[in-house]
Structure formats: C-alpha cells, structure tokens
C-alpha cells in the first residue's frame, strides 16, 4: 500500500475541523489538525505534511503571515479556506504564495478535488526537479502545445497573438489553479504601474473568442470574480 499523504488542517472551528478531518480520513489521507497558527507552524516543521489546508480566520495570528513564514523555506502546497465575500483576502493569500483557495461553504467532493490537484502539481514539480516541463497540456478539445507554441481546439490551430499565447500557456502550466490578475499582469507585461487590469481583460476576451464556443458561457477559462482566472482541468 502506498504511503498515505498527510494533510495538515488548520482550523479553529472545531466542527469544521472535524468535518474536514472525517472527509479526508475516509478518503485515505493521514490528517493532523491544528487549532491555532502557532500550533500550525510547529506542526509544519515537526510532522512534515504534504499539504496544508489553512483557514485564514485564526484567533492568534493572521493566516497570511503563516503562508509567508512557510514560503520562506518551503514549497509545501497550501490551500486557503476563505469566505465568499473576502476577495481581497484570497488575492493577498495567493500573491503571498498560497497555491489555491476554496470558498466556504464547500462540499466534500470540491475539497477532495482541490487537494488532489494541489498535491499533484506539487508532486510533478518535485519528482523531477530540473526535468523538462510537460510538452503539452490537453483538456477537452483544447490542446496547448508548448513546443510549437500553438493552441489547438478540436484539432484546429487557433491563431493567437504573442501575449495571448503566453497567457494561456501560463494558465495551462498551472491548470486547475487560480492565477490572480496581478500575477498574470506581472508575468506577461512586467511591472504594472497603472494598477488596472484592463489590458489583461481585453486579451482574455480575445482568447475566449478564439477558443470558447460561447464566450459568455466559457468551458475552458473560468473567471473567479474579483480574483483571477482558472483553466479547466477536466472533471
């Protein structure tokens, strides 16, 4: 039997912590629970978990400072748990180095999918450090070919501009994870002194028109309101 993956659940609400622990244990994860930020930091070092599920609203310290501390020495995947209305918290956490977020309330299947995706991404990066990254990303009818720098939809080559290609390639490399507006802007255009994301939006609108059947009901690129974009990773 393969070694169980260990998830550190950082949650001050006992009932939610219990619910999450039950879901994860019954799905073959090894679960450890921390109720405070201090406890969490101690456990990250002593128990070496494979993933941290971090609730941002902790009693003793700001959740983002935990991300910062962990990120200063580890690539350990972190999924942030946050409330719906708090887009700024999410953006801040992602920019601080969190891998993904999940919005309360969430169901077991959504939670498990996010955890699987995050562990897989981390595993892929860790297993072959320095290895050539994947040559292709494929989901549904969409293929991103990194070698030839082209995107195919149902086998047909889609004509993208340089920047459009770079955006979708970036989303493809992080498929299933949300990339914030700021991150994308920085990666594609460098510094963004104007502080607005109009240029990214316009490029995104063009990409949608080229790869989606109905841009108003996208199948591949999802918008996370107020946070960023996420490329579909399959069901």
């Amino acid at each position: 039997m393969p070694l169980k993956e260990r998830v550190l659940v950082v949650e001050d609400e006992k009932s939610i912590g219990h619910f999450v622990a039950t879901v994860l244990t019954s799905n073959n994860y090894d679960v450890i629970v921390a109720h405070t930020g201090a406890e969490a930091l101690a456990m990250v070092t002593s128990q070496s978990p494979d993933l941290v599920l971090l609730d941002l609203g902790l009693p003793d310290m700001d959740g983002t400072s935990i991300i910062k501390t962990v990120r200063s020495w580890s690539r350990l995947p972190i999924i942030v748990v946050s409330a719906r209305m708090h887009e700024r918290d999410k953006v801040e956490a992602l920019d601080m180095g969190a891998d993904d977020y999940i919005t309360k309330p969430f169901g077991p299947s959504e939670l498990l999918a996010r955890i699987r995706a995050a562990i897989r991404h981390a595993g892929a990066a860790e297993a072959f450090p320095g290895a050539a990254p994947a040559e292709k990303y494929q989901v549904g009818d969409l293929v991103i070919d990194y070698d030839k720098r082209q995107v195919l939809v149902a086998g047909v080559n889609v004509r993208l501009t340089q920047n459009e290609y770079r955006i979708i390639a970036l989303l493809g490399r992080h498929a299933g994870r949300v990339l914030t507006y700021d991150y994308l802007l920085r990666e594609i255009w460098g510094a963004n002194p104007r502080g607005d994301n109009q240029i990214l939006r316009v490029n995104m609108a063009n990409i949608r028109r080229k790869i989606e059947k109905n841009p108003a009901e996208p199948q591949y690129i999802f918008t996370e309101a107020g946070v960023g974009y996420r490329l579909w990773e399959g069901d």
Partner: protein, 366 residues
C-alpha cells in the same frame, strides 16, 4: 447648532453677489426698486434649498434686509430704517424671507426623514422575513438530528437517509440565506459599493459556473453581445443577483424546462433578462415580489412553498438599485416568467434620488 461648511459659505456669498449684481443691472433699466425685495426673497429661497441646515437661509435673509436698505433704497449707501413706510417694508421683507427660508429647510429635512423612515421600514420587513426564514430550517435541523441521535436504532436506513437529506437541504438553504444577508451588509450603510469595470462575459461565466454546480440538470442558454463590454459594477454582488434569479426560477418555476439568460445594450444600459417557461407568479404577489415579504401570500398556499425567495429578490433589488439600475418581474404569455434588470454602462456619480424612487417598480415591466 449651525452646520457650517466652506462650500455652503462660498455658495451663499456667491448667491448674494449674483443677486446684488442682478438688482444693480435691473435698476439701470427700471423705474423704482420694486424688484429688489423679490430678487432677494428668491435668493433666500435658493440658498435655503441648496445649503445644509437653517443657518445660511436665515443669514441670507438678514443680510438681504440690511444690504437692500444700505444699497438699493434711499438714502443710497447708508442705513436708514426710519423713513416713513420703511420699518413696515423691511420688517415684512425680513419676515417673508425668514419664513421662506424656514419652510424650505423644513421641507428638505422632512424629505430626508421620509427616506430614512422608508429605509427603516425596508429593514424591519427584511428582519421579519429573515427571522421567519431562519426559524423554519433550524427547527427542522434540530429536530431531525435529535431523532437521529436519540432513536438511532429504531430508524430504518431509508428513514435516516431522508432525515439527513433534509438536514443538508436546510443547511444549504441557510447558507444561501446568509450569503444574501452578507450582500446586504456589503451595500449597507452610507459606504458606497466599490465598482470596477468588469467584462460582461466574465460575469455571466462566473454566475453560470456557480449555478451549474448547484443545478446541473437545468437547461440554460446564455446570449450576450459579441463584442467584449465593460460595465462598472461590484462583480461579486451582481453575480449574486444572477445566481439568485436563476435559482429562483428553478425553485418556483416547477414546470420549467429551460432558462434563457440574455444581455442586450439599450440606451446606455446593459439589460439582463432571465426568462423561463415555468409557472406564472401569482398576480397578487407580483407587485410585491421584491419587497421581501411577498412570502406571506405564498405561505398560505401550503407547506410546500417554504423555499421562498423573498429575501433573495429583495437583495437583488437593493443591489441593482445601489448600482443605479432597475429591476422588474413579469409573467410572459403563454407561460413563463421574465426578470429583467439594468445596469448603467457609465458610472453615474449621483445617486442622490435612489432612495426616493423605491417601491413603485414590479408592475411596470417594459
């Protein structure tokens, strides 16, 4: 306590100067100075209407009486209230301007008060609806879980499953309710909503994605303009409006087979339309559907109506109004219901009269 502000002081000074100038010009043409008091009473009216509190109106009245006496009446450029007829004339001028000023200010304050009361009423209705909506599912959750804990061995697997299903449905409903309430706090108070330019397709994409997660079986068609269009909005709130309208259609449509979500541009507005082919809304409920207590009529029709959307729809209206738009509901022949709401394409700076217009929509859908 006079509430003084630089803006109002400057405005008052300017008004007095303009009317003095006007009187000066008029007296070049005219015989006599009959127009002078009238011009100044008008000035008092304008100042009282457009400044804060009583102070500026009263100040202008007194300044006008002395100013007119000093400048425009014989002896010119000197005070003299003693000439025959003058005491009466200036006293009546003072009285007229003071009364004008006081009445104007009072009307203004009553209007403010009326809007406040209106808001208060909305809030009270909402609270009533909320506590009703909270009590029902909570009672059932507490009841079901107690039975499960106490009589575990006497219940069949099927019974347990049903009870748990209901507990989950009730909990989901409470979450839904809470998200709507949170939306209100986000609009609430005097703090304006934070609008950003958002792409319509990203809005529909996000809303549809969320809706699909909850109701995967419903056939939903989305149509939007071909070109990318930016609209100023708080996207999280407008997403909530769309999800509310879509879920509302599913919950109440009963015979519904599909929903159409379409967006068109009309007269500087983005007009959203959520249309289904489900059951009509009761004509008696329709005019009050956004009030947050349309609930009551439903309730009497039977226990099955528990999942009302009273709060959801009233939240929709509050959100749309706060964006400077409007929302309507109508039954469409031969069957089906259409909800339409609009958002201005340009950010309108003034929403001063938002509160005053509330409460008359719902029955005049275009």
């Amino acid at each position: 306590m006079p509430r003084l502000s630089v803006k109002d002081s400057l405005f008052t000074a300017a008004a007095i100067m303009v009317s003095s100038g006007l009187c000066g010009i008029l007296s070049l043409f005219g015989s006599g100075d009959v127009h002078v008091p009238l011009v100044f009473v008008l000035t008092v009216l304008v100042v009282s209407r457009l400044t804060e509190g009583y102070f500026y109106g009263i100040f202008t009245s007194i300044a006008a009486v002395f100013g007119v006496n000093y400048v425009f009446t014989y002896p010119y450029f000197a005070f003299d209230f003693t000439i025959a007829g003058y005491p009466l004339m200036f006293l009546s001028m003072l009285a007229v301007s003071l009364i004008t000023s006081a009445l104007t200010t009072q009307i203004k304050q009553q209007e403010k008060l009326r809007i406040e009361t209106e808001k208060e009423k909305l809030r009270a209705n909402l609270l009533r609806a909320i506590s009703h909506d909270l009590r029902t599912p909570l009672t059932s959750i507490a009841g079901s879980t107690s039975i499960l804990l106490e009589d575990e061995n006497r219940l069949s697997g099927e019974q347990k499953r049903l009870l748990l299903q209901e507990v989950r449905d009730d909990a989901l409903w409470l979450i839904h309710l809470m998200e709507n309430l949170l939306s209100i706090t986000r609009i609430g108070g005097e703090a304006r909503i934070r609008k950003h330019l958002e792409l319509l397709e990203e809005l529909t994409g996000a809303a549809v994605h969320k809706f699909r997660k909850n109701c995967p079986a419903v056939h939903l068609r989305v149509t939007a303009p071909d070109e990318p269009i930016f609209v100023p909005m708080d996207i999280v709130l407008i997403e909530q409006v769309l999800v509310n309208l879509l879920e509302n259609a599913v919950i109440h449509g009963k015979t519904l087979t599909h929903i159409d979500l379409s967006i068109a541009l009309e007269d500087g507005m983005a007009v959203f339309s959520v249309e289904n082919d489900g059951e009509w809304i009761d004509a008696r409920v329709l005019p009050h559907i956004f009030d947050g207590y349309g609930v009551r009529a439903d309730e009497k029709r039977g226990a099955g109506e528990r999942r009302n959307m009273g709060i959801g729809l009233s939240v929709c209206r509050s959100i749309v109004k706060a964006h400077g738009g409007d929302i309507y509901a109508e039954n469409t022949p031969p069957r089906g219901v259409r909800f339409r709401f609009s958002l201005p394409l340009k950010d309108m700076k003034d929403r001063a009269d938002d509160g005053a217009k509330e409460g008359k929509e719902g029955d005049n859908a275009s």
